[in-house]
Symmetry: C2
Subunit: 528 residues, 2 copies
């Protein structure tokens, strides 16, 4: 079923000579499929097709786009077991994760379809005319959100389904009315091709314009660079490292016409463990965190990589419990041998820093490419002195910082880079006393969690997956949940426009029955 | 009343040695006041104070912030006539414009106060917990908008009131909960100081934290550069030229932590004149456009600088009518002698291009610094060949492009840079036939106008003042209207947070009675 080719719109093409393969980390061997990188001409063709598709795709109704997204979900499910097998062979993830993540991808597509069917997401805002206003008449003004244009999506390594070919970025961009060109992630190109085939089938079945979706293969940075610099591309979605994301942001900012890049990048997701909570529940929290740190071999953006607490008997107990729990968990296979090597290197680097000691590490034998979960420890004083200790190690790793007191704890939080999440583990009674900690944390994060773990990112309207730089490149948007659509749209105002030529969303009698703000009041009613 | 000093929070300081003066273009002389530029230490102090103020200002309730904004409006009005005299002496604008623009500034401040008092603008979104959901429980998630941090506002030359010290950028940033540091525009520093004094008085009367507002004077680019590069600054608002705005965007993008810049820059605001409309109403439209082109000496971002039409008898008639109307209007004083010189230079440059001829120009004598309104003409073919013809000339100027046919007209629209506005002058009947023109225009603009003029930017929720680059640096936001607040905020999610520690906007019983999205339904009801 794998052709090894690029989807330029619905056409499978492989005019190039450069090829790449993927890797099976479980078997520690190269996969058999050979993928051909997109040529300059193929890249050009995909972008031109996307731009051409935009002129008709942006006019599709919400219902038409919803049918398209639901059809994508259906076609992905129709790929059945074969897709799951492909996913496992290119990620090292177990079957259960494959099924779970497919469910998440399908759920995301359908949640955007629900949003489109309901229709109010366009934020229609109407101020009707007041012809006799003094000193000047008030004109009729009506505003709604419209799509930006062709969007480039960079697949992520750690979510071959939910944040790649038909993942959240693609689903939200297609929902907004923007055509999408995916740069397939080099670790799971076969999985990407299969998912792309489902999108193409869905586009054909629902009569979407040719070029509404393309899927390109590229080995080095050339493909990504060409796409981000292309004048017809109007936005970029990325999930990955800080260096990769920043490079794209810089490229986009340097264009003659700068374009928005939403890059979801690094995060160590600080967790503050307050003393009362550890006193009452140290075993429970140690078990929860051992689980969260090792979930999916720690390869989550929201992995808790930094545990902060004030020194004392409670913390000592927690440390003992965490050690026991961590050492008991069976390590998992990482996404790639290079990831596993980077993980080991990252730990070694941290361990070599002044004042850092090892708290816990899985002690048994592990297979190649498996990540041995590790907890290190350092004093608050040393942590404050050494910025490198606050950088992410991607994998099942966390560093425990033993603070002198709460003043130092807050100092550390204030010095942290922007984060996706911040967690407080606390008894409800004691929380009032620690308001200063909460306010400090709130300033640095996109999501505040009370008595839980940061892993497990719910897909819903109230989710914020993003945060102050470098957690994401623009903290004003989210990468997860239906509000992710707002990254790819801009408002357009119509002044004194004839009613029958207005988009349905803005017409007087509100034919779509959406919630609109009319003269500063939210209403389903019509206007005139 | 003018001290010539900087407001570092509430303190008037002038520790520096460099001074600047402003210019009275009506009298063609330097104004008497001497203003001292802010020193490096004063800049540092203003930013540090703003950052300190942020910790308490962001906790202010909507009502408290509304009181502050209303107090600013009151204090500005309390400055009375003296402020209007100051404004006129530093802008060359007549008294009527001063009063009108003051009204706009006051109206903007009060409209944000109304928005804050109502409170729903924070887009509270709640998804309640489902503890027994399979395979995993759903956590309680609640999201709302929170302020970014200290914002730097660059005053504009052409709106000393409405887009400067207490203009739309300042009002929206203060409404969002962000402290503001204004870089006073060098053409009207005295006006800026007076308005700043009103803001400081209002802050003191309503118990706002010291440093919530500062007003700095700077001659060259040093002040602006220092502010945009400062690590504690979290966003920038700018109104001005493309080169100035782009320079700030580049600086902000190159920071270790890039920050959002909303720059409202250049626009020629294309106007498409369809033949039936010219046939029926050429005199009416010629008069309207002569008025719009010369309004405020053409010194508006939405000045119609590009008139597009297909050649023919109707266009010839319009040209004759426009010439008559343009030549009758008395020229007005421009903002500064340098502006007037740039205006003349701009016209001369355009006139020297191949195929360009003069249609109309005011023929009488004019005083120094007055702008002689001018209309040039060129064929569609030459216009397409010469990109420089599409660039803005700031002042009472427009270029009429005589297109061969509608195909060429659409080609021209597609080649245009992003624009604030696009206008169609048309009989309603003929509009259906010209859908392709509308769709082309829609792609290039932030606001589409039917049978009107682009000047006159209504301040309301449905206004979009912004547009594809370079009309603005980020087409996803507006600079005018209450939605301008969304430039300075980011969403923050709370997961499983104790109800009594949540912000009031997210608490179960909806104490503020704001519209919230609860489990995907808009409601005023509480939840649990």
């Amino acid at each position: 079923m794998i052709t090894g080719k690029n989807y330029i719109g619905s056409q499978l093409k492989a005019g190039g000579t450069k090829t790449v393969k993927t890797f099976n980390p479980q078997l520690n061997i190269e996969n058999p499929w050979v993928f051909t990188e997109a040529t300059t001409e193929e890249i050009e063709e995909a972008v031109a097709l996307a731009n051409q598709a935009f002129t008709s795709y942006k006019k599709c109704s919400g219902l038409e786009k919803a049918q398209f997204l639901n059809a994508i979900a259906d076609e992905i499910l129709a790929l059945g077991d074969e897709l799951l097998v492909q996913y496992c062979s290119e990620s090292g993830f177990p079957r259960g994760r494959a099924e779970g993540e497919r469910g998440r991808m399908i759920g995301q597509l359908r949640s955007f379809a629900v949003m489109l069917t309901e229709g109010s997401w366009v934020q229609a805002t109407i101020d009707t005319a007041i012809p006799d206003r003094q000193p000047a008449p008030k004109e009729d003004l009506r505003k709604m959100l419209v799509p930006l244009g062709p969007i480039v999506v960079f697949g992520s390594s750690n979510f071959p389904f939910a944040f790649s070919t038909a993942g959240g970025d693609t689903a939200s961009a297609l929902a907004s009315g923007c055509p999408v060109i995916v740069k397939s992630h080099s670790m799971h190109i076969g999985t990407g091709e299969m998912v792309a085939s489902a999108i193409i089938k869905a586009a054909q079945k629902t009569n979407m314009p040719e070029g509404v979706f393309s899927n390109l293969v590229g080995g080095g940075r050339t493909l990504g660079t060409s796409l981000v610099k292309h004048p017809l591309v109007k936005g970029v979605g990325f999930t990955g490292s800080i260096s990769g994301g920043r490079a794209l942001c810089d490229l986009a900012a340097q264009r003659p016409e700068p374009i928005p890049v939403f890059a979801e990048m690094g995060s160590v997701n600080p967790v503050v463990l307050l003393p009362e909570a550890l006193k009452v529940n140290s075993q429970k929290w140690a078990a929860a965190y051992a689980g969260s740190i090792t979930l999916g071999a720690g390869q989550f953006c929201t992995n808790p990589g930094l545990l902060l607490a004030v020194k004392g008997a409670e913390l000592n107990d927690f440390e003992t419990e965490l050690t026991t729990a961590i050492e008991k968990i069976e390590p998992l296979c990482m996404l790639h041998s290079t990831m596993q090597a980077d993980f080991e290197k990252g730990i070694a680097e941290k361990e070599s820093q002044k004042g850092v000691s090892k708290v816990a590490q899985f002690k048994g034998e592990v297979l190649p490419n498996y990540g041995r979960q590790t907890i290190l420890k350092v004093s608050g004083e040393e942590f404050l002195k050494n910025e490198s200790l606050s950088h992410e190690v991607f994998g099942p790793f966390s560093i425990l910082v033993e603070c002198e007191d709460e003043v130092q704890l807050i100092q550390i939080i204030n010095k942290l880079d922007g984060q996706l999440t911040g967690t407080i583990i606390s008894e409800e009674k004691e929380l009032q006393k620690h308001q200063a900690v909460i306010f400090a944390l709130q300033n640095r994060v996109g999501r505040l969690i009370f008595n839980g773990v940061p892993t497990g990112v719910e897909v819903c309207a109230s989710m914020l997956h993003g945060g102050p730089y470098p957690a994401s490149s623009d903290s004003r948007f989210t990468a997860v949940g239906t509000h992710a659509v707002y990254r790819w749209v801009r408002p357009l105002s119509y002044q004194n426009w004839p009613d029958d030529l207005l988009p349905a969303e803005l017409q007087n009698n509100n034919p779509l029955q959406i919630s609109r703000t009319v003269n500063n009041k939210l209403t389903l009613a019509g206007c005139d």
